[in-house]
């Protein structure tokens, strides 16, 4: 177990060091998030629909798009100079390679969301002060599910034609169940409803995370081997 985590962390650290040194992808993803939030502001009629009704939609559509766009990066990176082959011949287990990529993607998406959430609060004047902790909890649960499936699928499409487009097409149907759960819980939280009303959806999110992280950990080896 210790060995496994050490291997996963090595892969994650490699990706994160690479990312934080160049910062191109990270800055682009953050700017993209800010732009989507800006576009949403013009895509609604503030006199017709109160912002609070649209807020969960805005937040989650933005986060879904941002997560999907950043997921391509994880394996695109490894295509240059056959770096993926290098990783595969190294004495890494396939599962720890997956977990390394998963951790790096999670940190990456968390940073983007960490900037996106305050921007969302600022742009749409949403009162999140009272529900900040449960809201972050829901974001973490849903993001974990998004990224677990997304990391597996980004490895799957990387050697295909039109990888970026294909990833989005196969990933979106998988993001709908956690998206539904996250939007419903967020709406209840922002509407001042007690957390106990959201238990069904929270269970769904947790079950989704557990099932798809286990499944992806197992299936990942079949996507990378030559």
């Amino acid at each position: 177990m210790g060995e496994f985590l050490a291997q996963a962390w090595t892969v994650a650290r490699k990706d994160l060091v690479l990312e934080f040194r160049t910062r191109t992808a990270l800055v682009s993803a953050i700017v993209f998030t800010a732009l989507v939030l800006t576009v949403f502001n013009f895509g609604r009629d503030p006199t017709a629909v109160p912002t609070i009704d649209l807020a969960p939609t805005i937040l989650w559509v933005t986060f879904t798009f941002a997560a999907m766009l950043t997921l391509n990066r994880a394996f695109q990176l490894e295509l240059e100079n056959q770096a993926l082959e290098g990783l595969l011949v190294s004495p890494l287990s396939r599962t720890s390679l997956y977990w390394g990529k998963l951790i790096a993607n999670l940190v990456f998406v968390a940073v983007v969301e960490g900037v996106g959430l305050p921007l969302f609060v600022l742009f749409f004047d949403v009162p999140v002060g009272r529900v900040l902790v449960p809201l972050i909890g829901v974001i973490a649960l849903a993001t974990l599910g998004f990224v677990a499936v997304g990391t597996l699928f980004s490895a799957l499409v990387i050697r295909t034609r039109f990888a970026e487009l294909l990833l989005v097409v196969i990933l979106l149907p998988f993001l709908v169940p956690p998206l539904i759960g996250a939007v419903q819980v967020t709406a209840r939280l922002l509407g001042g409803r007690p957390l106990s009303e959201s238990v069904g959806y929270l269970k769904l999110l947790a079950a989704y995370d557990i099932v798809f992280i286990s499944l992806a950990s197992f299936l990942f080896r079949f996507t990378v081997d030559e």
């Binding site: 499936v149 989704y208 499944l215 299936l219």
Partner: protein, 226 residues
């Protein structure tokens, strides 16, 4: 008799039987009191819906066995089943609105069943697109198996997430824990139709499977090239 011919014969029998289902449904089955003739579409819609889901589960199961046994026949079957499943999903999504317009007053609503069938349809399309995007048969089979298994596991989540919504869709009247709540003449017609659709599925899959055995322009089998 070659496999293609067998498939053609099964399909032919199924099509004749489908015509017989409609003769029986229109002429020898009583009219539903509230819905009138619109209810007749039920004999087409429900069996197609059952096979849409069953086909996805078979794609997933074939995927699991493929990853262990590496038998290309399983992959050919999965490809055939996915294509037929996509066709059946299209039937469900076409017949549903035709019934919905006179009964609900709208072609489409974001109801639980409609949403879950639509997502299943997108899942099939994504699966077939991935198959089309990979040239190498082994790689294609492996990717398709991974995606098929994930798709199979997604089906219960789609159900759970959309069923937490309220639904307008008629509740199950046959496949439910208590006895079917419809007159026996309707039940017989429906069972006849279910048998017909089962035959139709087998016929289509057999033909599609036989087609995948034909060598393609490169002189190799092309399992599921779209």
């Amino acid at each position: 008799m070659s496999l293609t011919q067998k498939g053609r014969w099964i399909t032919l029998v199924a099509l004749v039987s489908l015509a017989a289902v409609y003769v029986r449904a229109l002429a020898f089955t009583p009219l539903e009191r509230l819905q009138g003739p619109a209810q007749k579409i039920f004999y087409l819609h429900v069996p197609a819906a059952i096979w849409t889901e069953a086909a996805m589960i078979l794609v997933g199961l074939a995927g699991i066995f493929y990853l262990f046994l590496k038998d290309s026949r399983l992959d050919r079957f999965a490809a055939a089943s996915a294509e037929v499943g996509a066709v059946f999903a299209t039937i469900v999504l076409t017949t549903g609105p035709i019934w919905g317009k006179p009964i609900w007053g709208t072609w489409w609503t974001w109801d639980a069943r409609l949403t879950s069938t639509l997502l299943l349809f997108f899942l099939y399309v994504g699966y077939l697109l991935v198959r089309g995007a990979v040239r190498d048969p082994d790689l294609r089979a492996r990717y398709a198996a991974v995606l098929g298994i994930c798709g199979m596991c997604l089906v219960p989540f789609i159900h759970m997430s959309v069923y937490l919504f309220r639904t307008l869709h008629p509740q199950p009247i046959i496949l439910k824990p208590s006895a079917p709540s419809l007159p026996s003449s309707m039940l017989v017609t429906w069972l006849f139709s279910l048998a017909t659709f089962t035959l139709l599925y087998v016929g289509f899959v057999t033909q599609r499977y036989a087609l995948s055995l034909q060598p393609d322009a490169h002189g190799e089998g092309s399992p599921g090239h779209v």
